[in-house]
Every structure is written in C-alpha cells, then in structure tokens.
Amino acid sequence: MKRGAVILLVVLCLGAGMGLLSYNLLRDRGSPADWLRKELSLNEEQSARIMALSAEYGPKCAEMCARIMQTDSRLAGLIESSRTVTKEIREALAESDRVRTECRSKMLEHFYEVAAAMPEEKRKKYLDMVFPVVLNPGGPSQWVRPHLAR
C-alpha cells in the first residue's frame, strides 16, 4: 500500500514535470510574428514580407488602441456626469462605435494582407485563427481555441 502511494506520487510528479518541461521548451520567447513564421513554416521571403507588414501595422495598432481609450474615457465621463441620455452622450456613443468599427476594419485589412503573403494552403489556417478576433474583438475569442490554431 505504502509502496503504491509512493509510486502514485512519483507518477504524478513525472507527469507534472514533463508538462512544465515541454511547456518551457515550446513556449516561444521571440516576437509573435516570429512565432507565426515558425508555426506556418514560412520561407525567408514570405517571412520577411510578413515581418514588414507586422512592423508597419504595429504603430497603427497602438494608435487605434489609444483612440479607443480616448473615446471610451470621454464617453465614461459624459455618462457619469449625467442622468439622462443627452445629445452629447449619443454623439459619444456613435463616435465610440465608429472608432471600433474602423479598428476592426483595419485589423481585417491587415489579416488579409498577411494571408496574401502566405502560400495558398497556409492562408486558410491563418485566417481561421484570426477571424474570431475580428468577429468578437473584445470578447473571449481573443484567447485562441487550440483546434483553430492548429
């Protein structure tokens, strides 16, 4: 009985240790674009094109993030200082929606450009992975579902 308990403990430790080891070996420490290159086994040329697109998109993405924050904080201020839906609140809501729609549209544009730089057979895999982000950008779909990423 005692021997069995020790073996059970060893087996559980082996499983957990192996899990941690494989996680640390496979967790990519490079840039996300670099991970994409490895994940989709892209060649030098495709990889360089995607890296360039990512470098170009990065500042745009940060700018969009800042604009969303700006419109959200303006809307939050108006909502907090009022007890009725005023004309300003309506306009701020519309502006917030407009900025978000623009962000989604730019994101989708970037995804299509990246996909276009890939060979045909890799495109679908990539688009399957990124489409949920466009469909529900603020939702849990940003946490990728493993079956889509494979």
Binding site: L8, L14, S22, L26, W35, E39, G58, P137
Partner: protein, 99 residues
C-alpha cells in the same frame, strides 16, 4: 366560507401513529449510506495503490504520465503562443494591458 376552511385546516391534526423508533431509523440509514460511500471510495483508492505496486503497471503508468504531461504542456504552450500573436494584432486586447 374561506375563514371556516382556514379554521378547520388549522385545527386538523394527522392521526397517523408514528413508529417509536422512526427518527432513530432515519439517522441510522443516513449513517449507513455515508459509511458505505466512504468505504467504497477507500476500497477503490486501495485497489489503485495495490495495482500501482505491480512493476509493469507502475512502468506503464509512468510512461503514460510522461506522454500526458508532454501533450498537455505542448498544448498549453501552443495556445499561449497563438494568444500572444492575437493579442499583438488586436488593439482591444492591448487595452487591458494599458488600463
């Protein structure tokens, strides 16, 4: 009419004789059910430990644990890598990091 009925219901008492050891029997049955559940878990756990004491089973379980651990680790790593990429291209996801 309604008041009469309420009074009647209020004054009504069930005249079904309760067995003298009714409460004791209920508690005894609850205790029995709990102890049998506890003993069945214990015997199941003991059986697992006895099985694991056999060298072949122990080796098989160790190999299985290694494979399961590797699979789980690689799955989580893959998912984390993909999530990191998606966060890097999603302005909405970056908001949570800025706020």
């Amino acid at each position: 009419m309604k008041d009469d009925l309420s009074k009647l219901l209020g004054s009504w008492q069930a005249e079904v004789p309760e067995p003298a050891d009714f409460t004791r029997n209920v508690w005894r049955r609850i205790e029995l059910a709990e102890s049998s559940r506890r003993s069945s878990f214990r015997s199941w756990y003991e059986n697992v430990l006895i099985l694991l004491s056999r060298p072949r089973i122990a080796v098989a379980m160790a190999i299985l644990a290694v494979f399961a651990g590797a699979l789980a680790g690689s799955g989580v790593a893959h998912s984390d890598n993909a999530t990191a990429y998606l966060r890097s291209v999603n302005p909405y996801a970056q908001l949570s990091g800025v706020r």
